[in-house]
């Protein structure tokens, strides 16, 4: 009896110890989480969450707190769902100096700001691979402009903005020679440079322009954030590989104890640029804009870029030592504290803007890096967060004096107090968290209600889907002393950074349909009476209209193999949420999704003779299935006259 009891006790004790040690992920949610994320049918979410689409090249939009996917905005990748990048109107959006580049790697997002707060006008997105910055309009959730960045590779520290969206930045992750120079890779130190581009944004139109580029020594710029309030004039970039390695970076770029936060006084840079201290270098880069009026994207190839060298521009750039291979460079809402996250460091250094200014004034430098003054670490330091966790990456703020840092290696979010650098709370993530986002968390006024963690790994979180799993976001309630995990939701591509703003800021500004009277597309058909088919050589232009529930014309004959047939389809509807789709059998490219009041064009080049049905692809009405027509394609040189119509039954004789 006694023996049994002892055995049972031992088993119980071992079991208890075991469960304590090995906490499992499914026990992490406490009681009322469901009610906090439940958005009842017919109710709206409280926040829009814009999430970078990583290697999908898109931006996705989710509602918070529900985590429901609301929209995919195609930006840097072609998108078959709505013809973005395929239609004749949007093709030019993806033009670069390397031709049409249909894919990219979209990492970070930034909402436009006024006075350091969200103004709900534009969303900026970066493309990492073919360096580009895009602007998305928040009234129609469409990409309006894409600007290529010259002298850059791996446009990573981008597209962060200054407090009044004066500038969007684009910093190089991979150093490369300026221009297209052909040099040995081993001449890295001599020939490779990193650049920080400052893109000015027109206050009224949002139109972007590279105002100037600051050329920096060859190293890897990683992330950045603008100063605010007292540090308004400054921009902070993190960098790594100050070892200047160009092979086996894993080891060779992880040798130094400290890399740098690069502090750039952009106001000074602006003055230098205006006073002619810069050099205009030849450069070639595409500037693509979408004209709402003509509904067409066009490309202008820019010819040069203004470059500022810190050597010629004293007091413009300073280096602040930061342990060790810093990733995030995040500025708190007061603008006083700059948090560097050494991804290989076991602590988080927090710098003080006041102290940096004092050090500059007193020249408390410990030397220079290619002529750029390096401020003494201790002189710039507010303090270090000790033992925060492993692999600090990114920090966001709640506006109540607290900072939240993502820990990649220890897979957790750590909350700490900025004033005394004490760790207050930690919450596990599932798994390997990258960026975190608090709506408004990088502005002067965070909304401070939720925190979203964007995770890299999701094994065991959702139903398995073969070897390829979705990525994931996790939502935490941060209103209390302790962070509370509320929800997991799957995301597209690999989400990097996100932005969030209250739905009320933009929901009532949404365009519901385009006014057809303002449709100045050169191929518009203003009403069914104006539809036609025009042949010019081997080019055939079909001016077509779509309205519930027919296409006009719906019978077209006299088209030959090898013709370039352009279908210009105008959606005549003037009602919210009534798009029409358009696809042709065996279409060589894609379909269209045409919004009410809009015209879109798809090019079709038939390679075989035959009858090609075309139809509406978006279930638009009770008679959607009937919304179709036929294109007759005859052999080249056949004697078939051009004929088109709708609602007219052809005379029997014409039928052969």
């Amino acid at each position: 009896m006694k023996k049994t009891l002892i055995t049972l006790c031992t088993v119980a004790a071992v079991a208890t110890i075991h469960s304590c040690k090995m906490k499992t992920a499914d026990s992490a949610v406490s009681g009322d989480a469901a009610s906090k994320v439940y958005v009842a049918p017919g109710k709206y979410d409280e926040f829009y969450n814009f999430v970078s689409g990583g290697f999908s090249g898109n931006v996705t939009v989710y509602g918070l707190p529900s985590g429901r996917l609301l929209k995919t905005i195609p930006v840097f990748s072609v998108f078959p769902e709505n013809g973005y990048g395929y239609s004749e109107e949007t093709k030019a959006m993806l033009n670069t100096t390397n031709g049409k580049v249909d894919w990219d790697d979209q990492h970070h997002l930034e909402l436009s700001q006024t006075n350091g707060k969200h103004d709900g006008r534009w969303l900026f997105a970066n493309a990492n691979n073919t360096p580009r910055v895009a602007r998305i309009d928040l009234t129609n959730f469409r990409t309006q402009e894409i600007l290529q960045i010259p002298n850059s590779a791996g446009n990573h520290s981008s597209p962060f903005c200054t407090e009044n969206t004066e500038y969007i930045v684009a910093g190089t992750r991979f150093s490369v020679p300026m221009g297209d120079a052909d040099v040995p890779i081993s001449s890295f130190k001599k020939n490779f440079k990193s650049t920080a581009s400052f893109i000015s944004v027109d206050k009224n139109t949002g139109r972007m322009k590279i105002a100037f580029q600051i050329v920096l020594p060859g190293m890897n710029l990683d992330l950045s954030h603008a100063g605010k309030g007292p540090s308004h004039d400054w921009f902070f970039f993190s960098c790594y590989n100050t070892e200047q390695a160009y092979t086996m970076l894993e080891v060779n770029a992880s040798q130094k104890d400290k890399d740098f936060i690069v502090a750039v006084n952009w106001k000074k840079a602006e003055e230098y640029a205006k006073s002619g201290k810069g050099h205009t270098l030849p450069a070639s880069y595409a500037h693509n804009t979408f004209d709402e009026n003509t509904q067409k994207a066009s490309t202008v190839m820019e010819k040069d870029v203004l470059v500022l060298d810190p050597k010629d521009c004293p007091d413009m750039v300073y280096m602040i030592p930061c342990p060790k291979s810093p990733h995030g460079a995040d500025v708190d809402p007061t603008g006083e504290y700059i948090v560097g996250s050494g991804k290989l460091a076991a602590l988080i250094p927090v710098f003080s803007f006041d102290k940096i200014q004092a050090a500059i004034k007193n020249k408390t430098f410990e030397g220079d890096f290619y002529g750029i003054p390096v401020i003494k670490y201790e002189a710039a330091l507010h303090g270090e967060v000790k033992k925060p966790g492993l692999g600090p990456l990114h920090t966001e703020f709640d506006g109540k004096g607290n900072a939240y840092t993502s820990m990649f290696l220890s897979s957790e979010v750590v909350k700490w107090r900025i004033s005394d650098l004490q760790v207050l709370d930690r919450a596990p993530t599932y798994y390997s968290v990258g960026h975190i986002m608090i709506p408004g968390g990088d502005t002067r006024e965070p909304y401070g209600k939720y925190l979203v963690a964007y995770n890299k790994i999701t094994k065991d979180r959702y139903l398995p889907t073969g070897p390829e799993l979705c990525q994931s976001a996790q939502l935490y309630d941060i209103t209390g002393d302790k962070m509370q995990l509320l929800l997991d939701f799957p995301t597209t591509g690999e989400p990097h950074y996100g932005q969030g703003l209250p739905a009320s800021m933009i929901k009532d500004k949404q365009v519901k349909f385009f006014d057809i009277n303002k449709n100045h597309n050169e191929f518009v058909s203003m009403g069914e009476k104006n539809t036609k088919v025009v042949r010019n050589g081997n080019r055939v232009d079909v001016y077509m209209t779509a309205i519930r529930s027919h296409l006009t014309p719906d019978n077209i004959e006299g088209v030959f193999v090898g013709d370039d047939v352009y279908f210009h389809v105008t959606n005549l509807e003037q009602d919210w949420d009534i798009p029409h789709g358009f696809a042709v059998k065996n279409s060589s490219s894609v379909d269209l999704l045409i919004m009410p009041g809009e015209t879109q064009t798809i090019k079709f080049t038939p390679v075989k003779q035959g009858i090609y049905p075309f139809y509406c692809t978006d279930f638009c009405s009770a008679l959607h299935q009937e919304m179709s027509g036929y294109l007759r394609v005859s052999a080249k040189g056949a004697n078939v006259p051009l004929k088109f119509g709708s609602g007219v039954t052809a005379p029997e004789t014409a039928a052969k």
Partner: protein, 192 residues
């Protein structure tokens, strides 16, 4: 001939002022609601125009073969404003002549216009709802789509509510004032 009382004279001004609203506000509104139109659709009938979601309603009507609504198809939009203008000028004439009999006649004209307008409106609704395109895609046996003259009706998946709008209420108010004033004037002349 008996002269108008002071309240009678004031009522003429009031009626004219109320009728001026016809040029500034819609007379009548027909609201439609269906599951796929959560915000509802609304057609507003003015003295000289039809506004609101007419294009959308026209788009929907083609399924059941109803004719589309266009401003140019309504001669009413020319003769109704003219009639009302003449009626208001007649009011001023009555005021100047200052005779009870004039007032009674004026009210009579009003009543005639009101009844005729309602009859005309009903007739339009009847034709609109019954004269369907025989080639319409959707045919529901025994179904017509005549909107209610006044009040609520369910038409297929649509709930339809027909009621006066701002100027319509002003018009009704004018009618009430006219009738009340006639009674008042009549009583005054009998007691004197």
């Amino acid at each position: 001939m008996k002269k108008l009382t002071n309240p009678g004279k004031i009522s003429i001004i009031a009626v004219i002022v109320l009728l001026v609203s016809l040029w500034f506000f819609p007379m009548w509104r027909i609201d439609l609601r269906a599951p796929q139109y959560p915000g509802g659709l609304s057609m507003k009938i003015w003295i000289n125009d039809v506004k609101g979601d007419v294009d959308i309603i026209n788009g929907l009507n083609h399924y059941i073969g109803m004719s589309t609504i266009h401003k140019k198809d309504f001669p009413e939009f020319v003769f109704l404003p003219t009639t009302m203008m003449v009626f208001m000028i007649l009011g001023l004439v009555v005021l100047v002549l200052n005779r009870k009999i004039g007032y009674y006649l004026w009210t009579g004209v009003f009543t005639f216009i009101a009844i005729f307008s309602f009859y005309d409106f009903y007739k339009w609704e009847y034709n609109y709802g019954h004269n369907l395109d025989p080639a319409a895609p959707i045919k529901v046996p025994g179904m017509s789509y005549q909107p209610p003259l006044f009040g609520y009706k369910k038409l297929l998946n649509f709930e339809v509510l027909s009621q006066p709008d701002v100027a319509g209420w002003c018009y009704i108010c004018a009618g009430v004032i006219l009738v009340s004033a006639v009674i008042y004037e009549w009583k005054k002349s009998v007691t004197k």
